[in-house]
């Protein structure tokens, strides 16, 4: 077992993610799958971490746990000091809403709504005034001020992913979790999206990027590799 990138003891205030010996097991008996196998990980505020690995390596399962979309079978997960591994569904929903901005490979925009309505969505599940203004600001950050009333089908793939990034930003989350954000984009749009993520990291946002692509992972400050449910550090080239 490798305790990858563990933060020095005593520096807990800046620690956003602390996975300690976390496992996720599916199935039982002979069909048991250790999708995540005794993984420990620490991510500090302002980090830009890439989790790299081929499909089937367990990086998606790890991403679900990191994103509070799923809870681990064993081990401890502290998110910004809160013990997520024992939360119920309602508390997890609240953590996702307040703390995490998601960017998905398939964008997952609602086709019936305009760009700013899509960006506004997470604000509907919390107490927020000036939702429209907040959505506008987030869209401005990704350079889409001129596309606010466009529907997703009126936007290019790159623009759609930028709307999705704005939606992740609008709640001012503790961490942005991007799952293969360039997986459905051509190289030019991929570059734009990665530039935006790099820029956000430069301005202080903590970003965790999940990808199978070493070139994409290359934009991160730190890269960890996942294989067979286990994690190890990789020294950036």
């Amino acid at each position: 077992m490798v305790a990858a990138g563990f933060a020095p003891e005593g520096d807990v205030t800046a620690e956003i993610i602390r996975l300690a010996d976390v496992s996720k097991i599916y199935g039982s008996g002979d069909a048991t799958v250790h999708a995540v196998d005794h993984v420990s990980l620490s991510v500090k505020e302002g980090d830009f971490l890439a989790v790299m690995g081929p499909s089937g390596s367990g990086k998606s399962t790890l991403m679900h746990i990191l994103g509070c979309l799923d809870i681990p079978t064993s081990g401890e997960y502290l998110f910004a000091g809160e013990d997520v591994s024992r939360m119920d569904e309602r508390e997890l929903a609240s953590i996702r809403n307040r703390r995490i901005g998601f960017v998905f490979q398939q964008f997952h925009l609602l086709s019936s709504m305009s760009a700013w309505r899509n960006v506004e969505l997470p604000l509907l599940y919390r107490a927020a005034k000036d939702r429209r203004q907040m959505a506008m600001n987030a869209l401005a950050q990704v350079g889409l001020t001129d596309r606010i009333t466009h529907r997703p089908n009126e936007l290019s793939g790159g623009q759609q992913q930028r709307v999705a990034i704005a939606r992740a930003l609008v709640t001012d989350p503790t961490m942005i979790l991007a799952d293969e954000p360039t997986g459905n984009l051509d190289s030019k749009a991929s570059r734009e999206v990665l530039d935006i993520l790099t820029g956000l990291n430069k301005s202080g946002h903590t970003i965790v990027l999940i990808t199978h692509d070493p070139n994409v992972a290359g934009v991160a400050e730190r890269v960890v590799e996942m294989a067979d449910g286990r994690l190890r550090d990789r020294v950036a080239a």
Binding site: E89, R90, R96, P122
Partner: protein, 405 residues
């Protein structure tokens, strides 16, 4: 998420899926409107059948002559000439027949009535003042002729409204019947038609005058005797009293050889009541089926749309929506569609209830029960199938819902 914002979200969900919203609303609309309209037509038909039967006078018993047998050939029922004025007097006897309220002998024939302006051929009944009571009729104008006028063979006539209108006469006018002048003393209140008989096209004159001048025949024999029981409850005993009395006066011991028949309108009424019940069941079934079809349509649209929206549910969950938030959103969406569909359905049903009688000439009676039941069922189906699949999807793990195709 507060209720106002959930409502706002629900509304935007509806507007975002216009076609689905319209289809669901239409399903509920037609289900409700069809039920209101079919049940309305059924109710109106039943009412109409019942009122026509009531117009016949359900207390009425009719005595008609039996069949004749001459040289081995049996004539049809009514061909005999066996009823007499003596029978009439016997039936009018309060001691022998206490449950008989009124008696009226009838002879009838067809004659041409001539007024100053036109002429009109119709049924002319010769009877006594009891005719009015036994037939449950009333006068719109003037008076009925009296027993004294019957005894005096008076040249007076009471006309049905149709007959009076066609002849262009009123109370006080004169008409000529079979060449003899008659004074119009009364006009009957309209009752409408019973089956093939128009009860408003007839003339009634004293039976004595009719026998003299219109139908001919012996002044002692009558074609029918009308009896009315004191109430619909005593119609059975009135029947028995009349039967006994006539068997005695006709010296008949074997009832199988009776030379008269007594029929009652209540026999007809009970037949008609069972017809009406069948009719109502038939229409209620049609209504139930249309509601079922509408409900299945709504169910399908709701199921498909929620399946389609599983990804949306997953996304909303990832963004922080709790199952409760999602349930409320879908509840509001489904409730709004059901409410709008229900209200429009009632509107369409009422509109049809207004238009159908005017355009198709079919009576429609709108009652509250089908309106309430159809709205409840249609809206209930919309709610259940709008909310139940959504509630199921809301319980999925957000990732599973997001990955749903």
């Amino acid at each position: 998420m507060n209720l106002l914002r959930t409502f706002d979200t629900g509304m935007r969900g509806l507007l975002g899926h216009r076609l689905r919203s319209i289809l669901t609303t239409l399903g509920i609309l037609f289900g409700v409107a069809a039920v209101i309209c079919t049940v309305g037509i059924g109710t109106a038909s039943a009412d109409s059948v019942n009122s026509r039967i009531a117009a016949l006078g359900t207390n009425l018993l009719t005595v008609s002559p039996g069949s004749t047998t001459s040289f081995g050939v049996r004539g049809g029922s009514g061909s005999a000439n066996t009823l007499t004025m003596e029978d009439v007097a016997g039936l009018a006897d309060k001691q022998d027949a206490p449950d008989v309220a009124a008696v009226a002998p009838v002879v009838s024939g067809t004659a041409t009535l001539v007024s100053t302006s036109t002429n009109w051929s119709t049924t002319v009944n010769g009877s006594s003042p009891g005719w009015l009571v036994t037939n449950a009729r009333s006068l719109a104008a003037g008076v009925f002729f009296t027993q004294q006028q019957v005894n005096q063979h008076a040249q007076v006539v009471v006309l049905g409204t149709t007959t009076a209108q066609d002849l262009g006469v009123t109370v006080g006018s004169q008409v000529t019947i079979s060449g003899a002048p008659f004074d119009v003393v009364g006009i009957l209140t309209a009752t409408g038609s019973t089956g093939f008989t128009n009860n408003d096209d007839l003339a009634v004159v004293p039976i004595t005058t009719a026998q003299d001048q219109i139908t001919g025949g012996s002044p002692d024999s009558v074609q029918r005797i009308l009896l009315s029981a004191t109430s619909s409850a005593t119609i059975g005993s009135a029947y028995l009293e009349a039967d006994q009395l006539l068997l005695q006066t006709h010296h008949i011991t074997n009832t199988a050889t009776a030379d008269f028949n007594i029929t009652s309108a209540s026999t007809l009424a009970s037949t008609a009541a069972s017809v009406t019940t069948t009719l109502t069941i038939l229409l209620a079934s049609v209504a139930a089926i249309s509601l079922l079809v509408g409900g299945i349509g709504v169910m399908n649209i709701m199921l498909v749309s929620v399946t389609e929206r599983t990804q949306e549910i997953g996304l909303r969950k990832a963004l922080g929506a709790t199952p409760r938030d999602l349930l409320r959103q879908f509840l509001i969406e489904a409730a709004t569609l059901s409410f709008i569909g229900g209200v429009l359905g009632v509107g369409a049903g009422l509109l049809a209830g207004f238009l159908v009688p005017r355009l198709a000439g079919i009576a429609v009676t709108i009652t509250a029960t089908p309106v309430i039941i159809s709205v409840c069922v249609a809206a209930g189906v919309g709610l259940i199938f709008g909310v139940y699949p959504a509630a199921r999807a809301a319980r999925l793990a957000p990732i599973a819902a997001l990955r749903a195709e």
